[in-house]
């Protein structure tokens, strides 16, 4: 039995750990989406975290925990700086600005040759990430996010997502909460980057650009943004899918694209949608008896 496990791990460890890393990234996007912001910049934050941590372990000989911490801290600080002017924008304008910011980081990484190795990237990064690091990271992040959701902060974020004007008039400091979601999302993405860099021994600027951002977004949307299960599930499925579709070669990217469109059109809440599943399985939500009746049957004007 343990022989099978060893063989399985020998072949698939990288895949499983990649799922873990992607789950972290999907959760970071979930966080920003949970208050209605779209972070196309999270891939860039991941890149910042990856490079920071790698440079510290490689060039400064820093111990792994310190490097990871730095990999979390730098993107967070950048997010706070960039967030202040850009989070004033709303909706599509903000999405566009984060796209632009992602570009900025990509180009910066590309051009700072002496530091980042430019287009060639960094190779020879010590493979310091253990499987339990990834598991620990996921558990910690899941715990923090779960608790956050149940706190007044989580409630405020959801209110902002629904109607930020109404939320602000109920006493919620909208800007502060958006900054929190943005910066915390950047921190998680940075963590994923730092861990991922020390998993493979190479990172390059091309890995943290638009395509990466799209991948993570697909995972989150596909999995479902209603709760924390969705992003993790989505990460697992989308990471494994190319492996399953190996035989389809060139067409598997096409299928990826088609999946994205189809999910958006037909599964608007993603794969993991508790409400839809409840209706499938026939369980009806419970009703409490009404003490004061609202106006009866006649349709209400709107």
């Amino acid at each position: 039995m343990s022989n099978w496990l060893d063989t399985f791990w020998a072949i698939y460890s990288n895949l499983v750990l990649t799922i873990g890393i992607n789950a972290l990234l999907a959760l970071s996007i979930w966080l920003t989406l949970s208050c209605g912001l779209l972070a196309m910049a999270n891939a860039a934050f991941m890149g910042l975290g990856a490079y920071t941590a790698s440079l510290l372990t490689m060039d400064a000989g820093a111990p792994f925990p310190v490097a990871v911490l730095a990999g979390v801290a730098l993107p967070t600080v950048v997010a706070l700086i960039v967030g202040l002017p850009t989070l004033r924008l709303s909706g599509v304008y903000l999405a566009m600005a984060t796209l632009g910011f992602g570009e900025v980081v990509r180009i910066a990484l590309l051009n700072a040759d002496s530091l980042t190795g430019g287009a060639l990237g960094l190779s020879g990064i010590p493979q310091l990430t253990q499987w339990w690091h990834v598991v620990l990271a996921i558990l910690v992040v899941l715990l923090v996010l779960r608790q956050l959701r149940r706190s007044r902060i989580g409630r405020a974020l959801e209110a902002i997502k629904e109607d930020q004007v109404a939320a602000s008039l109920m006493g919620v400091d909208v800007m502060a909460h958006k900054m929190l979601a943005f910066a915390l999302g950047a921190a998680i993405a940075g963590l994923a980057g730092a861990l991922s860099a020390h998993l493979s021994s190479y990172i390059g600027p091309g890995e943290f650009g638009f395509d990466r951002g799209v991948d993570i977004l697909t995972m989150t949307i596909f999995g479902g943004i209603g709760g924390l299960t969705g992003p993790v599930l989505g990460a697992a499925v989308i990471t494994v899918l190319p492996e399953l579709l190996r035989s389809f070669r060139d067409y598997r990217t096409m299928i990826n694209g088609a999946i994205l469109v189809l999910v958006v059109l037909f599964l608007p809440k993603g794969l993991w949608d508790p409400a839809r599943m409840r209706s499938w399985f026939g369980r009806r939500p419970s009703y409490a008896p009404t003490i004061v009746a609202d106006s009866p049957s006649a349709p209400e004007p709107r």
């Binding site: 405020a156 209110a159 629904e162 602000s168 400091d173 609202d294 209400e300 004007p301 709107r302």
Partner: protein, 251 residues
């Protein structure tokens, strides 16, 4: 309590409010009426900090409201409902009301991160208070329903409960009975009456004359961005300028 002094608001080339001055005394039920487009909701938007006045002063309990962000103004004690309802549709009634309590839920990061007793106690009390406020407005027992499933009148009452949750000293109600049938209107009138008897100051905008005349102690009338009359209901009812403004707009 709330004082507007020569407030004006210009949107591009359009002068929406001009030289608006009146005061809402503490504990009063104050009504703001006027034909459609006269600028009433703009007054609310100015008071709650959503937009800034082009000129004039707005003070609340002596404190200037100008330049303050909306959530700060709410924390000063002003709460508001909306003309086109803005409940949080996908949240339950209870959750909607608890959002209003946001400022008063005082626990810190370690509290919620580790589910400490302080956090749990505060959340439980908040849920209880929410249910209390919901029964107050006549939505008792439905705390777990989703807001989107409520009828129109129910959503208006939910907004009221949510506004009360912010523990304001003054409530701004923007057309609280619009679209309701007479039974609901009477109910709401009673609810507002109860609210006022508890010491809240109520400042409302409404078109329904019966409602306004029956409830308000003082009324200001606005037309084309200017205040054309102010005083108790009997004076307003017989004011010639007011009658002229409403010519052809009999309720």
């Amino acid at each position: 309590m709330l004082a507007l002094d020569k407030v004006s608001k210009r949107f591009g080339g359009l002068l929406v409010l001009e030289d608006v001055s009146f005061a809402v005394p503490k504990g009063c039920v104050f009504g703001l009426i006027g034909p459609n487009g006269a600028g009433k909701t703009t007054v609310f938007n100015l008071v709650t900090g959503l937009i800034a006045p082009t000129g004039g002063a707005i003070t609340f309990g002596g404190v200037s409201l100008i330049g303050k962000k909306p959530h700060r103004i709410t924390r000063l004690g002003i709460a508001r409902t909306f003309q086109n309802i803005r409940v949080f549709k996908e949240m339950t009634l209870r959750e909607n009301v608890v959002v209003g309590m946001h400022t008063h839920l005082d626990y810190g990061v370690p509290q919620w991160l580790f589910s400490l007793p302080g956090y749990r106690g505060a959340e439980r009390r908040a849920a209880e208070r929410a249910e209390e406020l919901l029964s107050w407005v006549g939505l008792g027992g439905r705390a777990s329903d989703v807001a989107d499933n409520l009828s129109y009148g129910g959503q208006r009452r939910l907004e009221l409960a949510r506004a009360l949750a912010t523990e304001p000293s003054m409530l701004l109600l923007d057309e609280p009975v619009a679209g309701m049938n007479s039974g609901e209107k009477d109910e709401l009138m009673a609810v507002i009456g109860r609210i006022v008897s508890r010491g809240y100051t109520v400042f409302l905008i409404e078109h329904d004359m019966g409602f306004v005349m029956g409830l308000c102690e003082r009324i200001a009338v606005i037309n084309f961005g200017r205040v054309i009359a102010e005083g108790p209901p009997e004076a307003i009812r017989s004011d010639p300028a007011v009658i002229e403004a409403y010519l052809g707009r009999e309720e």
